[in-house]
């Protein structure tokens, strides 16, 4: 039955090496017309490299690419676009200094001449309305002014706009990582409609439920190879995790979290959001893991930043009694120092402890780095390599190492697991629990409801205010969503 359908894309024996690293080691992959393929695998399994090859941004080392039956030997970005292959990249590809409409024009060479701005605005507005009804994004908005979730909505909608070039395959790389569950649902519904109209889609996601629920077929990658490919119905969560080589499933998380009989110490953070009108406030004791939940962009990040600033001086409504560190969510702009090595990126928060005389002791810096490389399992041959040589998940691990390796007793986390694979997540969850056992406090904003299982209790945010305080036993996804939409506060 499978063979009867048209093959849109056929990859045979595709290889790609970066120096000694075999990012792709002979990949065979077929994409049929009218199907949604889920692509899963750990960070570093080769998914992003494969997608970069499909979109023409990287040249293949070996192997062939055939599109609609004809072999493409001079494949490039413009060739891929002309053949109707688009990609929504994980790190966003919008120009922050341009408007939504102008960003749409960037992808459509044919939008030019008199009235191009009006045409571009109409094109993107119509697509946004179609995918995300009620989005409230205006085509004249400057992208840099939009929240990261809205930027992702624009990026997704832009990929589905059509002018003169055809559109047959859209690759979505972690498309929901910055979306809340409502908009993520809107997007996935749209993907089903898109596929239903005979087009194809590749869905890359670390949220296995999302892949299981929406893909027709699932392809699992590991170490640069396709290790499993079958109909989605054949897989379940455990089977996916096993074929990805994952250590454990979510049940383990819940079990580990529940068995904790942690020593809860004195109060170390008290914070009231600036817009809070009642006397509800966030209270954290040492040794607690506190979740901040709710729809994206409802004041969670603002409160974390306010707490962070309060540590340096006083601020009304916020008390902090211990040193703290922040793990940024937008790692490209707020987290890493792109020019620096991995070791230096980890050491920057702990510089006082590493100075000898007036200089930074490179021995101590290296010690700190290698200790955390081992503890948090950063995959690199040399910690003196540039931080950008790491995959996204490993960069995020380095940022965790920076915070956890410091003297901070309170760790603020601003949705740090965005677009991180499940193996990395499980490693980090374990580490967070260990650190909490030793008396550290975690304030954890997350857009993934599953992660809240790790928390002792959860504050739900809405419209810049805390609207609910749920203990672990009360915590369900429905309850969080219900509180998020509850206006009567």
């Amino acid at each position: 039955m499978v063979d009867a359908r048209t093959i849109l894309v056929k990859l045979e024996g595709v290889e790609k090496h970066f120096g000694a690293v075999r990012a792709l080691d002979g990949v065979d992959l077929n994409i049929f017309a009218g199907e949604c393929v889920g692509l899963v695998g750990h960070n570093g399994a080769g998914k992003s490299t494969l997608m970069n090859i499909l979109t023409g941004t990287l040249a293949t080392g070996a192997g062939t690419i055939s599109i609609s039956g004809s072999v493409e030997d001079r494949y490039s970005v413009s060739r891929a676009l002309a053949l109707g292959i688009r990609c929504v990249f994980q790190e966003l590809s919008l120009c922050p200094n341009l408007s939504v409409a102008e960003n749409t024009r960037i992808n459509h060479p044919s939008l030019k001449g008199i009235g191009w701005q009006r045409k571009a605005a109409a094109l993107i507005a119509q697509k946004l309305d179609e995918i995300f009804p009620g989005h409230s994004i205006d085509p004249s908005d400057i992208v840099g002014d939009l929240s990261i979730g809205r930027r992702q909505m624009v990026e997704v909608a832009r990929a589905f706009t059509v002018t003169d070039a055809p559109l047959d395959l859209v690759i979505l790389d972690e498309p929901t990582s910055s979306l809340d569950s409502h908009t993520a649902g809107q997007l996935l519904d749209f993907v089903r409609r898109f596929v239903g109209s005979g087009k194809s889609c590749i869905l890359i996601s670390h949220l296995l439920g999302e892949v299981l629920g929406n893909a027709d077929r699932i392809v699992v990658m590991r170490d640069g190879k396709v290790v499993a490919a079958d109909r989605a119905a054949v897989f379940d969560r455990d089977k996916l995790v096993t074929s990805m080589g994952g250590a454990a499933a979510r049940e383990k998380v819940a079990a580990e979290a529940a068995k904790g009989t942690r020593e809860i110490g004195p109060i170390c953070v008290k914070a009231r959001p600036a817009r809070q009108r009642d006397d509800m406030q966030l209270v954290a004791r040492s040794g607690e893991i506190i979740g901040l939940a709710g729809l994206a962009g409802n004041g969670q990040t603002d409160l974390l930043l306010a707490i962070f600033e309060a540590a340096g001086g006083s601020r009304s409504g916020i008390e902090v009694t211990a040193p703290l560190a922040l793990v940024a969510g937008d790692r490209q702009s707020d987290g890493i120092f792109p020019q620096w090595s991995i070791a230096r990126n980890i050491g920057i928060r702990s510089i006082e402890r590493m100075v000898r005389g007036m200089l930074i002791s490179s021995r101590r810096e290296a010690e700190l780095a290698s200790r955390w490389q081992e503890r948090i399992k950063i995959r690199t041959p040399d910690m003196n390599n540039n931080i950008l040589s790491l995959s996204g998940g490993n960069q995020q691990k380095a940022l965790f190492a920076r915070a956890l390796g410091s003297d901070a007793r309170i760790i603020l986390m601003d949705d740090p697991m965005r677009g991180v694979d499940i193996g990395t997540k499980l490693d980090v969850y374990d580490l967070i629990r260990e650190e909490a056992d030793s008396g550290r406090t975690f304030l954890w904003y997350t857009t993934e409801t599953e992660e809240l299982d790790n928390c002792d209790h959860v504050y739900v945010f809405h419209g810049g205010r805390i609207v609910a305080n749920l203990s672990r036993d009360e915590l369900t996804e429905e309850k969080v969503i219900q509180s998020s939409f509850d206006e009567a506060v």
């Binding site: 120009c95 200094n97 908009t183 962009g297 409802n298």
Partner: protein
Amino acid sequence: MPALPPANAANYSARETARRTRLLRVLLPALSLALVLLAIAWLNPRAISYFGFSLMLNLAIPIALATIAQMFVITGNELDLSIGTFVGFVGCVTATWLRDAPLLGIAVLLGSIAVYALLGALIYLRNLPSIVVTLGMSFVWQGLAILVLPKPGGKAPDWLMAITGFKPPFVPFPIIAALLIAAVVHFGLMRTSYGAVLRGSGGNPAAIGRAGWSLLRTKMVLFGMAGVFGVLSGMTLIGITTSADANIGNGYTLLAIAGVILGGGEFMGGRVSPVGAVIGALTLALAASPLLTFMRVPPDWQVAANGAILIIVLAARVLISRREA
């Protein structure tokens, strides 16, 4: 689930704030210009007249053109430290060959624009820091200028002096020229579809590349445009001063950078404003010499006072945009 998430309200107001901030940033150059004009009017009311503006803004047009040239380079996240000596070189060519051997003069000027575009290509292809390349080029242009015109002198072509000496009714020529420059460049860079790509190449080069545009081409176009406006700047400068000197444009490099920043541009991220840049250049031209003369600052101190004004104005801009952000 409700059709419209109530979360929109919070985001909407955040976006309104961003919009207001941007509006203020746009108005800031105009405010600083108004402030300088008010000071001049207070110190010497007679300066606010057709004749007064013609005199005071005499040199503003070459500065505005050099600022626009710099703005194109800054759009692509680069910096041009050679624009001043380039203006001087163009001035020397204008006062000699363009008058005596027009064909040679035109060829040399067009060739120098091509050199600018090639510098853009070199910077992109070899991934060189533009500061280093253009700093080196500044000595090349200076040396060439001295070769062309070893001693101050030469004479502007008559047709050029006729253009720069044009006296329209009611509105002084420099103001008309400034409006024209601002309008043309605003249309070219902010309104055309390729202008969006050029600005995007400063905002997120990777995204422009992924969309299939040539970053080599955007870089060459941006540097080529800098060359075009540098040539226009040098020519108008000579049209106004009527003779040339190899060092005539040296101060323009920093004035041009300051004009772009004062006009609301930023060094990184492709955020520039042609209208702001022209206003910034006018403000600097007025604050430079007329204001100081009216304040009775002795000529010996004017250069230093000029620098002080520059620091104050730019610091005010940084402070205001930071408070708003």
